[in-house]
Subunit: 500 residues, 2 copies
């Protein structure tokens, strides 16, 4: 089906979009002439403002059923290809946000279509098993082939889950269980613990805590939400736990100009972490685990140095807190390494690494000692979804076969370089361009301008996402090549020029 539409669409898009390649693009000559990927379009094509009339109609319809305040527009996923998302009004946009960073290798990738066409795979879709009790025959092999092939250093165990929040919730539980078993010195609970836990009371439900960071985002279920501190609207009106919250370094840019200040800022935050651990222990709510993103994504693409993370990992070890690196958004290759924590260059980077989004299945890797000591402690009906594992295995094949991490490094370099140039050209609008791989961001002078830039980009055929108070985050798929970068930079440049 996909291929039958393809030739017609490529022909059409070539005609319709030649104009888009024309007016004053600085980067065009360098790379836009690169070979067209066979399954992709050659550029954006805009027919209406976005959301267009059909999207608005559907929004009204969906509004009868749900709050649609967050809906951007409605999509035609059948017609979407590679880096291009097509909407229901026929607009085709270069997608630099990829469904909140969750599409690994673009839309309708032929390799993923093949997974669907393989009759051996059908029953994995049709019969969703209760993985924790009745796994399919190929489950161990598939885990070895897919998830374990990308296991973080020092980890050989993984637990799949349905989504990012469930992954973090269960990782927290594993850390609590480990902490209590260490505290006890054995794993046999007392009768008092057994009885009290049934009614939510200590000692069975102990007053343990997870230390998190201001600006962090780890999900929206009640446990996760107690460690999420990026935006008030996520947390307002929801009961929470009295858990310690450390400051995350606020680095000043450009980094090379603020070396001393930033080092001091990171030292301050690390000191505060240790203080909080001590304070919460004294309060009777010891810190069982520390959770942190390698780059605070939702919270504004906040980075910290390798040294910061290395020191933090040591603090966790020193105080007997499990160290949980949440790679739900950073994992999967966007930073140019499969896991963002690989940039730290450590043999023992973490005790837990959670994932979801680009990995298509949720879950978490963990050290051996974080394996549940008894059955049914880390458990739910589905425990993930083997059909997602099938797609993931294929995604990993494509990443290897097409050297996509190298591509990401190359594209990322071009993107960051472009952002540096743009912020030099428009210093009153842009600042603090930063990133690893294509996992980049730039600050905008204020919230309103940021939102206006995103809206204008969309009307010109580029989908961007915001994060933090006034940042734009770039989250393209791993198939976002250098010529896509230049296409984006050209369009973005035109928009910024209007602010001159």
């Amino acid at each position: 089906m996909a291929s039958s539409l393809l030739s017609r669409q490529i022909a059409l898009s070539l005609q319709q979009n030649l104009r888009l390649c024309a007016p004053g693009y600085r980067y065009v000559s360098k790379t836009a002439a690169k070979t067209l990927e066979e399954f992709e379009y050659d550029g954006p094509s805009m027919k209406t403002e976005v959301p267009g009339p059909r999207s608005k109609e559907l929004m009204k319809q969906l509004g009868e059923i749900q709050n649609v305040g967050a809906v951007h527009f409605f999509c035609n996923y059948e017609e979407s290809r590679g880096n291009y998302l097509v909407d229901v009004d026929g607009n085709r946009m270069l997608d630099v946000y990829t469904q909140i960073s969750s599409i690994p290798i673009g839309y309708n990738h032929p390799a993923l279509m093949k997974v669907m066409a393989n009759p051996n795979n059908l029953s994995a879709f049709v019969n969703r098993p209760a993985l924790g009790i009745l796994p399919p025959e190929n489950f161990p092999d598939k885990l070895v082939e897919s998830l374990l092939s990308i296991a973080p250093s020092g980890m050989r165990r993984v637990q799949t889950m349905a989504c990012g929040s469930c992954s973090n919730e269960n990782a927290y539980k594993a850390m609590f269980i480990l902490y209590r078993n260490k505290e006890r010195g054995h794993n046999t609970p007392s009768q008092e613990e057994i009885n009290s836990c049934m009614v939510n009371q200590v000692p069975g439900c102990p007053d343990l805590s997870i230390l998190s960071f201001m600006g962090g985002f780890h999900g929206r279920t009640l446990g996760c939400l107690a460690t999420t501190h990026s935006k008030a609207i996520h947390k307002l009106d929801v009961p929470s736990f009295d858990w310690p919250i450390a400051p995350f370094p606020k680095l000043r840019y450009p980094l090379e100009e603020f070396v001393r200040e930033n080092a001091q800022e990171e030292a301050r935050c690390l000191e505060e972490v240790e203080d909080l651990i001590v304070k919460w222990r004294q309060k009777g709510k010891p810190v069982a685990g520390i959770v942190i993103e390698p780059i605070q994504a939702e919270g504004g693409d906040n980075h910290a140095s390798v040294n910061f993370f290395r020191s933090l990992r040591n603090i966790a070890r020193k105080h007997g807190c499990a160290f949980h690196v949440d790679e739900v958004q950073t994992g999967g290759g966007g930073t140019g390494k499969f896991w963002a924590h690989e940039h730290w260059g450590m043999d023992d980077p973490a005790d837990v690494v959670s994932f979801s989004k680009k990995l298509l299945t949720g879950g978490y890797f963990h050290k051996d000692e974080l394996t549940a000591d008894k059955p049914y402690r880390i458990f739910n009906t589905w425990m993930g979804d083997p059909s997602k594992n099938l797609f993931l295995a294929e995604v990993l094949n494509v990443i290897k076969r097409e050297n996509l991490l190298e591509e990401v490094m190359r594209s990322g370099k071009a993107l960051l370089h472009g952002l540096y140039e743009l912020q030099a050209q428009y210093p009153h609008i842009l600042s603090a361009a930063r990133g690893q791989g294509t996992f980049c961001a730039v600050d905008v002078c204020n919230d309103a301008t940021r939102n206006a830039l995103i809206a204008k980009a969309r009307d010109k055929g580029v989908i961007l996402g915001g994060c933090g108070e006034r940042s734009i985050r770039f989250r393209p798929a791993l198939v976002f090549k250098e010529y896509h970068v230049h296409l984006f930079l050209n369009i973005f440049n035109d928009i910024l020029a209007e602010y001159k």
Copy 2:
């Protein structure tokens, strides 16, 4: 693929299993000769003990990666059909547990295979959208066609989620938000609320509570877990909230012999509910919502009368608590009505009804006033999975086309009648047979005997599940016909006879 294997397998199974239809089955003459469904096997076929050698080998392999203490055996889902689950050692078992009650119309149902074969559906599998921001064109229509066609009385709004826990977590959040907005008299938070919620403190993160019941099960993420009270192992070592927990009626069986006692017991529990609501309000932790299962499933298939639920619903209304009926396990037709709460015969049975399992997607229906008042309050990356909605739509078609709810009533009657007979015959082993539709259970004299019965049944080709302290729960698919009931009863009878 499915059909090519079919004829060979049916021929084989006919030969191999004739012996299973032979020795001393009381019910055989009545219905076992019924027409074979074209896609199903005609009976169990056991080749090894379970788990067999291949399952044990795989268990060892998976044990290197995960705790496998809960794994029963490994499955060959490709070869499984209808009510029969085939394992990796070639054993074929009548499945009366269906992946913890989550397979609605049996394995590899032809109608679901067709969903996969339809090229128009491929992109829904390959491109998982962020439903909350970029839904596919057919999303509103699919919701109307599938979920809204089965909306509980008084509800026309639904929010999909990835699993049962996420459904309940988000339903709780919606109830907290509503409660606070009512308390405020408006939905504009103060600056103090905005600031304090960012650090998990009151008033932004208010001390609100959800009232739940002893024996209830609502999931295992931290919010859900605070309302789950079925088994200690689920809760031990995990921090919780100080929320009120009411007793759930402990009915005595047979019901007709204990009318007065049971009415008193229910009155006692209802009184306690009101006391707790008042007490927690005085404590400064008002009850924003009450959550309850129509039948406490995981907790032991505990039933209560229609009158109990009607009274409870009124108590919730009287005290301004949202009333959340958790139908994750009871929903989807197993009780003979699509929702178990339909048995209460109320126009306004609930404010929230959550679902998952047999509905293949998680989610919750809710009253209009529980719609999030602002975007991004009830939100996550995926917000469900449209590919599951496709399957659900087809499941609903099959239920209607094949009158499966009527079948469930018929099979359920036969099952419960059979259980009554068996408990009359083996009063020292079985008691308190109970159920609605095929959602039945029976108590066993003790835990050890219950587990032995389940193990023996498995070796004879019947998969059963336990629940509570010493109950067996029956959770067949909706395609479990009267002749499957009799097949089961015959096998179960043989096992019980060994205890005579």
